[in-house]
């Protein structure tokens, strides 16, 4: 199914969880914050939260800034 991750279309398997997506992207889950359709996904919810076609995901982290 198609989802949108950080503004780019991505093809993933149906039933993939948020945690599954992070591991597919090789990201350290402790260092990122995930927003799913404008709602923040808590760290504890990532394993149960399953993605659906058309979902828009934002994965952010801290970078240098003033």
């Amino acid at each position: 199914m198609h989802i949108d991750v950080n503004g780019k279309a991505r093809e993933v398997e149906t039933g993939l969880s948020v945690a599954g997506l992070l591991s597919e992207l090789d990201l350290d889950g402790r260092l990122v914050v995930v927003e799913l359709n404008r709602q923040i996904v808590r760290h504890t919810e990532r394993s149960e939260m399953l993605l659906r076609a058309g979902d828009r995901i934002e994965i952010v982290h801290f970078v240098g800034g003033g």
Binding site: N6, G7, R38, H43, V60, H61, F62
Partner: protein, 263 residues
């Protein structure tokens, strides 16, 4: 904090005590290593960071958090780059979701050319975030009325600019900054515009509680050396303020005795 001559001069924001009156940003450095070296040399214990998308195309990028340990520094997420209250609120929530604290350096920018704050949006975002339990430090103009409204809205500190972000123009309006400091109960932290050590010293001599800077360090030829200069300048300016400067006079007064001159 006990300074080197044994005076106590605490810097407290929202009940939290900081050892340094200098707060530094982490943007625009050449590398994570240089960032950490400059931050350490500055003596700052509060450090700002920005929230941005992870670049999924970059090959295994290292997180800033891997270099700046939240155990060593108090990280203050900002909402830099946000042009509306809604956008700033969204970024503030993302920053808090990282799980470090509920503090936010709130920016709502009103104009791309000058990066001056949109004070209307800033007030709106401050009210919403305070209601959500955030500890809000808004970046604002040097306008007293806005500052009073921000304090009234629950801001724990008010952060007026010295001059536009990244301009290095120094303290353009010391009078406005002094007026703010005299009227506000919460700490006043001058944020943005300081270019070199004399700017920092002069700013602290106005009696403000602290300074937040980024580009002055990151854009110096030697950021680590400038970090040291800023640490000393902030300290010197604070000491001079506490010492109380001599009055200005437009005539001379001799330093040596008039008495005892030869006939």
């Amino acid at each position: 904090m006990m300074d080197d001559v044994g005076h106590t001069d605490s810097f407290v924001i929202a009940g939290r005590t900081f050892s340094s009156r200098l707060i530094v940003g982490t943007g625009k450095y050449a590398s994570h290593e240089e960032t950490v070296a400059a931050v350490r040399e500055s003596g700052a214990d509060m450090v700002t960071v920005a929230v941005r998308r992870v670049d999924l195309d970059a090959s295994k990028q290292e997180s800033l958090l891997a270099h700046l340990s939240p155990d060593e520094f108090f990280l203050l997420p900002n909402t830099a780059g946000c042009y509306s209250a809604d956008e700033a609120i969204r970024y503030a929530r993302l920053g808090r979701a990282a799980g470090l604290s509920d503090w936010v350096k709130l920016e709502v920018i009103g104009d791309q050319e000058t990066l001056l704050p949109d004070v209307e949006g800033l007030l709106e975002a401050t009210r919403v975030l305070v209601a959500e339990g955030f500890t809000v430090l808004p970046y604002t103009s040097d306008d007293l009325i806005t500052a009073l409204k921000l304090e009234d809205a629950g801001a724990v500190a008010v952060m007026p600019l010295a001059s536009p972000i990244g301009s290095g123009l120094g303290l353009l309006n010391p009078v406005n900054i002094r007026i703010l400091k005299n009227r506000l109960g919460v700490p006043v932290i001058v944020d943005a515009g300081v270019g070199t050590a004399s700017d920092a010293c002069l700013t602290m001599e106005q009696g403000v509680d602290g300074i937040l800077m980024n580009t002055a360090l990151a854009a110096a030829d030697d950021p680590i050396r400038m970090a040291r200069a800023m640490r000393l300048a902030v300290h010197a300016g604070r000491e001079a303020w506490l010492a109380g400067r001599m009055p200005r006079r437009e005539w001379a007064v001799p330093s040596s005795p008039n008495a005892g001159m030869l006939a």
